[in-house]
Point group: C2
Chain length 228, copies 2
Amino acid sequence: MSSSLQFGLLVFPRITQLDMTGPLQVFSSLPGAEVHLVWKRIEAVQSDTVLSILPTTTFADCPRLDVICVPGGYGTDDLMGDDEVLNFLRTQAAGAKFVTSVCTGSLVLAAARLLEGRKAATHWSAIDVLPVFGVTASRERVCIDGNRITGGGITAGIDLGLTVISELVDRRTAEAIQLRLEYNPAPPFNAGSPETAPADVLALLQERMKVAKARRLDLAKAAAARAS
Amino acid sequence: MSSSLQFGLLVFPRITQLDMTGPLQVFSSLPGAEVHLVWKRIEAVQSDTVLSILPTTTFADCPRLDVICVPGGYGTDDLMGDDEVLNFLRTQAAGAKFVTSVCTGSLVLAAARLLEGRKAATHWSAIDVLPVFGVTASRERVCIDGNRITGGGITAGIDLGLTVISELVDRRTAEAIQLRLEYNPAPPFNAGSPETAPADVLALLQERMKVAKARRLDLAKAAAARAS
């Protein structure tokens, strides 16, 4: 139906698949929703896991989206400087009801100048990157600033998806989806944020991420300099 | 490396993709893990969303798994009576360290007689089906009974994945994965279980699921009768 709500999730090489598959499940649970997986070409992209993802439409063929969602992952390093991607996002954002992201997807929205002067969430390891693009980093799980709704790292995509449905449709509809997905989380430990994780666990992750983090910051600075 | 831990997630038509992609992200975050998406043939299966999933190996080629995980979804209706699937699970279960499921995946393990006399979790809408196979239904988020670890509905797959890593490796390793995935959930509402959802939301879902629920129970009874 032409009156269906149109959701588009960007997919790309080295996407963190759960950043995308979380909100995908939420959006797809909305009766009558049409959901698109969008990339440059109809050609499988390899996620950060063994899952390969086949786009359902291309930038050229994608309908006007009511909700656009940019997931994160190491692949966002390249997207920050990719004009084809940034132009697609800018064009869709102009007509969208909500422009959203999960994890480091907000860095791509920022590189497209879609978050300038606003606040946004991202993965905890990337909060130093947002200010490079003139964006105020938020440590909220889901950050709402006008029609920009951005989520924290990876698993925040589920919280983001439910928030988007609530804002776009209504709370009861979002609650019905939450119940269907039995989203009643019970993490076995309390290590899900740098503020609560044991110090040695945090130090281990920081050490593992050090090289990738420095590279990401350099690429963001180059992208910001090019765009200004 | 032959010493890597081998994880296998069953994929199948009409799988609820988040049942699989949640634990997939957790298992894939374990350094050195080898993760397989297993089905009868190397041929894309359509999930309950627009995401199609390409298996990485077949029942015939799958290595001996340390952890086998059966996700849920409406497709499990057919799997309960599918000898090729049930035989694969029985063979793998004999050598596995942990036999696990998410959501209605436990109905398939039950149909394979891998949960007989045990307790197990499943989606809240399917708790009446487990006793058909001589299994005690548990309302725990993650239910551990010996080396059988079963999760509740859909999103419970993330909690299940972290629990499996903690049991299989150690708690610190699971905590590092939790931090990496920023699994610090903050549902915007408290409607994630029948016990906490507003009564009208629960009634709406029960009405929507009624036909599918009755069909599932009939198929389970037929599968149980055939096997006994």
